[in-house]
């Protein structure tokens, strides 16, 4: 990885990498917190990120109290950015983020390329990483068979249909029942395709319950849980797929094969935070989230560099992306004022039922506020109490929350109070999902 260090590059107080919902929200929050010298670098020709192709509604209910489509939500933030006169460079791809070693007041060098300016480097006082995520591809799946045309990631198909006006195909099988797969099942059907089935490896769908209703049930599209595509057929163009049932270890069951004739296979099999730049800067990463390790300010292991939105961990609702990004923007502003120094680090550990937490650490100072910990369970659990304990699995309970049901597809939160953080001697907090019992043991 090239490290571009240019001590005479122009200084910019805040550089935001990515002009999607996270980047734009971070920019607005940083501005409102007093930052004026900043730039948002967006590689596409228009800001708005993935929202531009998400033409369905369901966005903004929390943030704006209205149900908006993706482009409308993006436009709200774009207007806020324009009203404040914040500089957004579109068509500018960031190639590199390099830490500024010991250079006072500079967090990193950010190098980008655009048709308008060629290659340029900025000395950034602070950086917010908001690059979003990409889709897991067929190559990652090892499906046996040929390599014909007609296999797309669901998001690629979404771009073709909603922005370019092309139909990827007419007879469709979808692998993956996350929201993107469900939304595309409906979209393709409405545009005249026959969606024969949505296959899901797991015994439950990862998408929102409302999408099962409005994308599958409404059109009589079968959801085949515990099924996956085990073979691809077709020479130049896809002619069909073989689908098999899987057992509790997710292994295909011989003899369960079903053949679907189709010309299109859409893959909705996971989102991967796009962290090439983050890794290139040597920033500490979380192997589970695929994003950076951060504290409650969303500050990474590189001081003055913050991460937020899908590049940090994949979110379910864009409203929470904007909320997290605003937090990062405010933190970047605080960093620029020299306020984010010192404190001791408390690490969050989890039991096997909590798949991950964001933040992974909490920086405790005299000015610490309550911390909202975001997490996902590793499976569906019912009648549970989410618990935060001091020190370890037997530690004193600092906070707890009862839930009737938690599921991997729905990000949850639990709050740790500032007073508890400041009073605890422990340097670890243990976040766990426990069975709700009638008798409380360790209160």
């Amino acid at each position: 990885m090239q490290n571009y260090v240019n001590h005479s590059a122009p200084y910019t107080s805040l550089v935001i990498v990515g002009g999607g919902p996270a980047g734009l929200s971070a920019a607005v929050a940083a501005y409102d917190a007093g930052v004026r010298d900043m730039v948002v670098l967006e590689r596409d020709l228009n800001p708005g990120g993935i929202l531009r192709q998400c033409i369905h509604n369901g966005f903004g209910l929390h943030r704006f109290g209205e149900e908006l489509t993706g482009p409308e939500y993006a436009d709200r933030y774009h207007k806020m950015v324009l009203e404040r006169g914040i500089s957004v460079k579109t068509g500018a791809t960031v190639l590199d983020v390099t830490p500024a070693e010991g250079e006072e007041g500079v967090a990193a060098y950010v190098t980008a390329i655009s048709e308008a300016e060629g290659m340029f480097t900025l000395r950034a006082g602070a950086v917010v990483l908001a690059m979003g995520c990409r889709e897991r591809s067929k190559g990652a799946l090892n499906i046996a068979g040929t390599r014909p045309a007609g296999i797309f990631s669901a998001g690629t198909a979404q771009r073709f249909v909603n922005m370019e006006g092309y139909m990827p195909g007419r007879k469709v099988v979808i692998l993956g029942s996350g929201d993107i797969g469900l939304i595309m099942a409906r979209r393709m059907t409405l545009e005249g395709a026959e969606v024969k089935a949505v296959c899901e490896l797991m015994p439950y769908s990862g998408g929102l319950a409302r999408n099962i209703t409005q994308c599958l049930d409404d059109f009589g599209i079968p959801l085949m849980l515990s099924h996956t595509v085990t073979q691809i057929h077709g020479r130049e163009r896809l002619t069909g797929v073989t689908v098999s049932k899987v057992d509790e270890k997710r292994r295909p069951i011989p003899g369960s094969e079903i053949y679907f004739a189709c010309d299109t296979l859409l893959l909705s099999v996971g989102l991967i935070p796009e962290n090439e730049l983050t890794r290139g800067a040597g920033i500490g990463m979380d192997g589970i989230t695929g994003g950076a390790l951060v504290d409650q300010y969303r500050q990474t292991s590189l001081p003055g560099v913050f991460a937020c939105g899908n590049v940090l961990h994949v979110h379910d609702l864009v409203d929470y992306v904007s909320e997290e990004a605003a937090l990062a923007g405010v933190s970047a502003a605080a960093h620029l004022r020299g306020e984010l120094t010192g404190g001791r680090t408390v690490t969050l550990k989890t039991d096997g039922k909590v798949r991950y937490t964001v933040p992974q650490t909490i920086t405790v100072t005299a000015n610490t506020s309550d911390v909202t910990v975001y997490f996902r369970p590793s499976d569906i659990y019912r009648d549970v109490t989410v618990t935060v304990r001091e020190g370890g699995a037997d530690g004193k309970i600092l906070s707890k929350k009862k839930r009737i049901k938690v599921a991997p597809g729905e990000m949850e939160t639990v709050t740790v109070k500032a007073a508890d953080l400041m009073n605890t001697a422990a340097d670890t907090l243990y976040v766990s999902i426990e069975e709700t019992t009638k008798k409380e043991g360790n209160l």
Binding site: I55, N57, E72, D75, N162, G165, E191, Q214
Partner: protein
Amino acid sequence: MATAYTTKNLTCIVCPRGCTLTVTLDPTAESPVVSVEGQGCKRGVDYATAECTHPTRVLTTTAPTVDGGVVPCKTNRAIPRELLFEAMAVINTLSAPAKVEIGDVLLENLLGTGADVVATAKRG
């Protein structure tokens, strides 16, 4: 006289929460919905009632533009669910202007439903 009530489970689609609604129905009554349980807010009750009598949906799609592209659009209110494919056929014959602002009406009173088709993205 005991009426044979039936119950139906629905997922509310009004917001991403997707509350599970249990609807008690009296099949003999003119307004069959007797009660709704499980809603997180009042809109869930309205949804359950509509869903059990005349289901409606907001349609989000794209409309062809005069310069060969597409512009995202939606119906500005929910339309009868059974009209979705007919609505798609009508919207796919439109020729929206090349320059469009969010909220611009691309088609008034779609299929006599009283819903307009409005642009949801700025273009040009």
